[in-house]
């Protein structure tokens, strides 16, 4: 409590006192566990770098990602073009920045597209049980039997290409994981006495599930979502690389790599640059996930 005096000098002292003591300590402990391992901080830095590059990169780089310069194709890195130019003379750094926006948007959106329905369904069937639970679990089993990229590209074949359809396709392949994780937690949480207590005072089932069970059952799904961003980014780049994702000339990491492999020997940077961006993004979100796991569930290793 020695800290509260010093904090009070530059911040209204009332703020932290509004929260119940238990919760504040829990949060602070979680934060401490989160930052305990230095690699987790590296994860935070990597993710921050990726996001900042995607947000501000396109504003700072003076080249249009679509503008071709056929007199300067496949130019090596130079002061004008820091990463050189591609096969159509387009600035690679500029395309990388714009591509990061699209790839990260797809990665993050796809995780929510998979996570939100997955968690809610897991919550519902875990709480209600019975036949519905059985059926949904068999469905998750069979969706998970498909290699996820295979399922994703089959769905894209049905829906058609494009950013939005890609998000949906990756989401459809990803939801069972969240449903299973949440269901598993809910099965344990619904047996707690406090849930019985809420039920005896007459709370509706929806309210019990959303307000009382979900907060205690959602942690594994949150961890999985952080790891899921990496999966989604890999899926997007894979599909765009195969020519089944985002349509050219819109730059994404995957579509840049597709061009890159055709000119690998002359301009290896065209594969390497987006490849490194994918690597750093996946590594960052994986480390973040590890940190979250330790912060949210200290007993689970």
């Amino acid at each position: 409590m020695a800290a509260s005096g010093t904090v009070g000098t530059d911040r209204p002292a009332v703020l932290p006192q509004i929260r119940p003591v238990e919760k504040r300590r829990g949060l602070r402990q979680a934060l401490r566990r989160f930052t305990r391992r230095r690699v987790v901080l590296i994860g935070v830095v990597l993710v921050a770098f990726e996001l900042l590059f995607a947000i501000f990169g396109p504003l700072l780089i003076p080249y249009e990602p679509q503008r071709q310069d056929l007199f300067h194709t496949l130019a090596p890195p130079s002061p004008e073009h820091l990463l050189g130019t591609d096969d159509l003379g387009r600035d690679i750094l500029s395309r990388l920045a714009h591509g990061s926006r699209i790839s990260l948007t797809i990665g993050l959106s796809a995780v929510f597209a998979a996570g939100i329905p997955g968690v809610l369904l897991g919550l519902l069937v875990g709480y209600k049980g019975g036949t519905l639970d059985n059926v949904v679990m068999r469905v998750t089993d069979s969706v998970m039997a498909f290699p996820s990229i295979v399922l994703t590209l089959t769905i894209v074949a049905v829906l058609g290409q494009g950013i939005f359809n890609l998000i949906i396709a990756i989401g459809v392949a990803g939801w069972p994981n969240y449903a299973r994780l949440t269901r598993g937690q809910v099965l344990a949480v619904r047996e707690y006495d406090y849930v019985l207590a809420v039920r005896t005072v007459g709370a509706t089932q929806t309210r019990i599930m959303l307000r009382h069970v979900l907060p205690n059952a959602i942690n594994p799904a949150i961890v999985a979502m952080s790891l899921g961003v990496g999966f989604a980014i890999v899926a997007e780049s894979g599909l765009s690389f195969l020519g089944l994702g985002v349509l050219p000339p819109t730059p994404t990491w995957g579509s840049m790599i597709q061009t890159g492999f055709q000119v690998l020997e002359i301009a290896p940077g065209l594969v390497m640059a987006p490849g490194v961006m994918i690597f750093l993004a996946v590594l960052g979100f994986n480390l973040l996930g590890d940190g979250l796991r330790e912060a949210l569930d200290p007993y689970l290793k």
Binding site: S142, A145, F146, F241, L242, F279, N286
Partner: protein, 322 residues
């Protein structure tokens, strides 16, 4: 034991059934007349006679659930229909593509197991040492490296710089084993990286846990050499969680083969799948998707059965299966 295995088989049947339902539904969701979709020609160039024959052949005049039953029956007996681009049976198109994919995934599997288990055990024998730290960091990195980066580095170094290996293409194993290995080693390594990392992490944590067990202390205190303690006593129990991953991994490897086969121009199933999606050859698409899913379920079933042999607690029914 017998009851356990039978139980597992019965649990796998509905999963296979559901995967078939899903594929059927996805294929029926494709816009347009199913016949034209199956024929891969959305804006029909087919005459009425051919269409009627096709409807007959695919049982499209029957109620939906009868259609499904006929379709599933055909799939399970290996009849995947006819390609309308090449007019060949789909089976004839898919079969020659099995070899390359199986060879690459099996090689990747073996490479990953060798590297992953070695790294995991070495890490676990000296937890939190500098060696452990470096190896753990290595697996963290390997888990995040995209296929593209590994593949391009391998290609640049071994194919374009040193010229030791062909950059792309595939030689069938029984034509020339050595050349075949040379043509598949880079795709296999590319594919194995992420899986090796997963295995290393799992092996480390599982081995660290086992090494804390009292029976290991007993083995050590009776003077058994550390190497033997690990290989004879610890390994068996530490392997149990690994076996589960080995089954699940097959799906990931199949998925990865879609990308690596494209990078290295290997004429495998993954390559055929992508080409078929682009060419709207949906009969081929559904065949490949079904084969992949079926294989994954079968692999998991084998793992479950294997598990029963390895773990007497399951065999004797002390731990109820879920």
């Amino acid at each position: 034991m017998g009851r356990y295995i039978l139980g597992r088989i019965f649990a796998a049947v509905p999963v296979i059934f559901m995967t078939a339902v899903l594929i059927f539904v996805i294929m029926r969701l494709l816009p347009g007349d199913p016949v034209l979709v199956i024929a891969g020609q959305p804006d029909s160039a087919l005459d009425e006679e051919t269409l009627r024959n096709l409807r007959e052949q695919w049982g499209l005049n029957e109620p939906v659930w009868v259609q499904f039953a006929i379709w599933l029956g055909k799939m399970l007996t290996g009849d995947f229909g006819t390609s309308f681009v090449t007019r060949q049976p789909v089976t004839a198109l898919v079969l020659p593509r099995l070899g390359p994919t199986l060879q690459i995934t099996m090689m990747a599997w073996l490479i990953a197991i060798t590297i992953g288990l070695t790294v995991g055990v070495v890490s676990a024998t000296a937890p939190n040492s500098r060696k452990d730290w470096i190896l753990s960091l290595g697996s963290l990195f390997a888990a995040a490296v995209p296929f593209f980066l590994t593949a391009s580095l391998l290609m640049l170094l071994f194919a374009l710089q040193l010229r030791w290996l062909p950059a792309s293409g595939y030689t069938p194993f029984f034509d020339d084993p050595l050349r075949s290995l040379r043509s598949t080693i880079m795709p296999a390594i590319t594919l194995s990286f992420g899986f090796a990392a997963v295995l290393a992490r799992q092996m480390r944590s599982s081995m660290v846990e086992v090494l804390e067990q009292p029976y290991i202390t007993t083995a050590r205190s009776k003077g058994l050499r550390e190497r033997l303690t690990i290989s004879r006593h610890a390994m068996k129990n530490a392997m149990l969680p690994i076996v589960t991953i080995l089954g699940f991994s097959l799906g990931n490897l199949f998925g990865g083969s879609v990308i690596t086969e494209r990078i290295f121009a290997v004429p495998g199933m993954g390559r055929l799948l992508v080409d078929s999606v682009s060419a709207r050859e949906y009969a081929v698409v559904q065949a490949i998707v079904f084969i992949f899913a079926f294989t994954v379920v079968a692999a998991n079933l084998i793992v479950d059965v294997l598990y029963a042999f390895l773990d007497p607690r399951i065999r004797l029914g002390a731990r109820g299966g879920s």
